[in-house]
C-alpha cells in the first residue's frame, strides 16, 4: 500500500534493528540525505547497508557508520578521499565489507526485484572477488554465479511523484533508485515535488507506483 507521509521521521519509523537497507545515490547525486538523517535519528542499528559507496565526509551514511549503526556494508567503492569514518571502522575490524563489482551490484539488485534466483556473469571471473564462488564456462567465457540482493527497506530520492506513486528522476541522480525500489520489501522515496495523478506522461515514468510504499516531500 502507498502512503504519503508528512515527515521523513514518519517515513523511516518502521525500520527495525538488523534490517537490510538499500540507500540510493552515486556520490551525492540521488542520495536521499534527509531520509538518511531520519534513519540516524530513529535509532535503528545493526544494519546491513547497500550503497555504491561507504559514506563521504561527515554526513549521511558516513555518520551512520561513525556511530556504529552499520554492521555490514555491501558496496563497490568504499575507498574515497573523505571516507574516513568507514576507513576507521574497517581497519578496526568493526564493520564487515562485502565488496561487489559495481555492475554485479546493480545486476544483483535488479535480479532481486525481477525474481531471478541467480545468474552467471563474466565480471570478476578469475579475480579475488570471485574466490569461493561457483564458476562455469558459458558462451565460451568463464563466468561467475551471483545471487540476488534483497532488502527490507530502500531509501531513495526522485524528482517527482504522482498520486499513484509513479516516479521520475533527474539526470544522473536516477542511478540506483529504480532497481532498489523494485528490490526492497518496503520502498521509501523522498521527492522534490508531488503532482496530481495524471500529470506525469505514462510514457516517461521510470518507476511505476507498484514499487513504492511511502513518499515524503522534502523541501
Amino acid at each position: 500500500m502507498l502512503n504519503f507521509v508528512e515527515s521523513v521521521g514518519e517515513a523511516v519509523a518502521g525500520i527495525k534493528d538488523g534490517s537490510t537497507v538499500m540507500i540510493g545515490g552515486f556520490g551525492n547525486a540521488g542520495q536521499p540525505f534527509e531520509l538518511i538523517d531520519a534513519l540516524m535519528d530513529c535509532g535503528a542499528t545493526d544494519l546491513t547497508v547497500v550503497n555504491n559507496n561507504a559514506g563521504q565526509g561527515d554526513q549521511g551514511l558516513a555518520l551512520l557508520i561513525k556511530e556504529g549503526r552499520v554492521k555490514k556494508m555491501i558496496c563497490s567503492f568504499p575507498r574515497q578521499s573523505d571516507s574516513w569514518h568507514f576507513d576507521t571502522r574497517f581497519r578496526a575490524g568493526e564493520i564487515e565489507l562485502e565488496l561487489v563489482p559495481q555492475g554485479n551490484l546493480a545486476e544483483r539488485i535488479r535480479a532481486a526485484g525481477a525474481g531471478i534466483g541467480g545468474f552467471f556473469t563474466p565480471t570478476g571471473y578469475g579475480t579475488m572477488l570471485a574466490e569461493g564462488k561457483e564458476t562455469r564456462i558459458l558462451d565460451g567465457r568463464g563466468q561467475v554465479f551471483e545471487t540476488p540482493i534483497h532488502a527490507d527497506v530502500a531509501l531513495i530520492k526522485a524528482l517527482k511523484a504522482d498520486g499513484k506513486g509513479n516516479l521520475v528522476y533527474r539526470k544522473t541522480a536516477r542511478n540506483f533508485g529504480p532497481i532498489m525500489a523494485a528490490a526492497a520489501k518496503h520502498t521509501v522515496v523522498q521527492v522534490s515535488e508531488i503532482v496530481p495523478t495524471g500529470c506525469l506522461d505514462p510514457e516517461i515514468i521510470v518507476t511505476p507506483g507498484i514499487y513504492v510504499n511511502s513518499i515524503v516531500k522534502v523541501a
Partner: protein
C-alpha cells in the same frame, strides 16, 4: 488457523451463501469484491477479464497487462480504439490516469518479482495442493501455447482461479493430482467456481462457501477431502 495470505478480505462464515450455482457474472462480482483495496492485479484472458466489470473505483485497484502497462482501463470502444493500446488478449483497451508503460522484460519483472498482489486465471484443473494446469490439454495434435501463464502462476503473491467446478462431462476439475500438463506447482491459493469457493494450500482444501449445494453434496462431486473453512474470528 491460517491458510491464507494477506490479500483475502475475510473468511465468510455461512457455508451456503447462495441457493443456486453462481453464473459467470455473479462469480466475477464475488472475486472483484474479494480483492483488497489498493491491490495490483492481473486478470487473465477469458473469464477472469469479467472481474474488471465489477471493480469499484473506491477499491483503487490497478490493473497490469503483461504486454507492458499498469493502469489499464476498460475495453476501448469506437473512437477510443488505438492499435498501439491493447491488452494481453490483444483487445483494444484504454488508459487510466496514473498509468505507465514499460517494455516486456520490465513488465515480466513486475510479475516474476512477486510485485502483483493477485492474478486471476482460468484453469483446466487445480490440485488439492494448489498445482495449476491451464495452458495445454496435452492432446497429441494440439499446438502448445503458454504465453505468460507460467510467469503469472509462479510470480503473483496470490493466484485465484476462476472455473466451472465440473467439466461438461461432469468430472471435477478440482483433483487430487493434475492429469493435464502443469502450469505451476502449489501456486493456487483460491479457487472460485460456480458451486463453491475453495482455499487451497499445503494443508489441503477448505471450502469457504457453497452455492446451491451443501458441503456434503459438494464433497460427493469432488474427489479430494474437503473441510469447512473457519469463519473469521472463530
Amino acid at each position: 488457523m491460517s491458510v491464507q495470505s494477506s490479500n483475502q478480505t475475510e473468511l465468510r462464515g455461512p457455508i451456503q451463501s447462495s441457493d443456486k450455482p453462481l453464473g459467470r457474472d455473479d462469480l466475477a462480482r464475488l472475486v472483484a469484491r474479494d480483492i483488497k483495496p489498493g491491490s495490483f492485479v492481473n486478470l487473465g484472458i477469458g473469464q477472469p477479464t469479467l472481474v474488471s466489470n465489477y471493480l469499484e473505483p473506491e477499491q483503487n485497484i490497478t490493473l497490469h497487462t503483461e504486454n507492458g502497462m499498469l493502469g489499464m482501463g476498460p475495453e476501448a470502444t469506437g473512437e477510443q480504439i488505438d492499435g498501439d493500446l491493447i491488452n494481453a488478449g490483444k483487445i483494444p483497451v484504454t488508459e487510466l490516469p496514473g498509468a505507465s508503460y514499460f517494455h516486456h522484460a520490465d513488465s515480466f519483472a513486475i510479475m516474476r518479482g512477486g510485485h502483483l498482489d493477485i492474478c486471476v486465471l482460468g484453469a483446466f484443473q487445480v490440485s488439492a495442493t494448489g498445482d495449476l494446469a491451464n495452458w495445454h490439454t496435452g492432446a497429441p495434435d494440439a499446438i502448445p501455447a503458454v504465453g505468460g501463464a507460467m510467469d503469472l502462476a509462479t510470480g503473483a503473491k496470490d493466484v485465484f482461479v476462476m472455473m466451472t467446478l465440473l467439466t461438461r462431462e461432469g468430472v471435477s476439475k478440482l483433483v487430487e493430482t493434475c492429469t493435464y500438463p502443469l502450469t505451476g506447482i502449489g501456486c493456487v491459493t483460491r479457487v472460485y467456481t460456480d458451486k463453491a469457493v475453495f482455499l487451497t494450500g499445503p494443508d489441503g482444501v477448505q471450502v469457504r462457501e457453497t452455492f446451491g449445494c451443501t458441503l456434503a453434496e459438494l464433497q460427493a462431486m469432488v474427489p479430494v477431502p474437503l473441510k469447512a473453512a473457519a469463519a473469521v474470528g472463530s
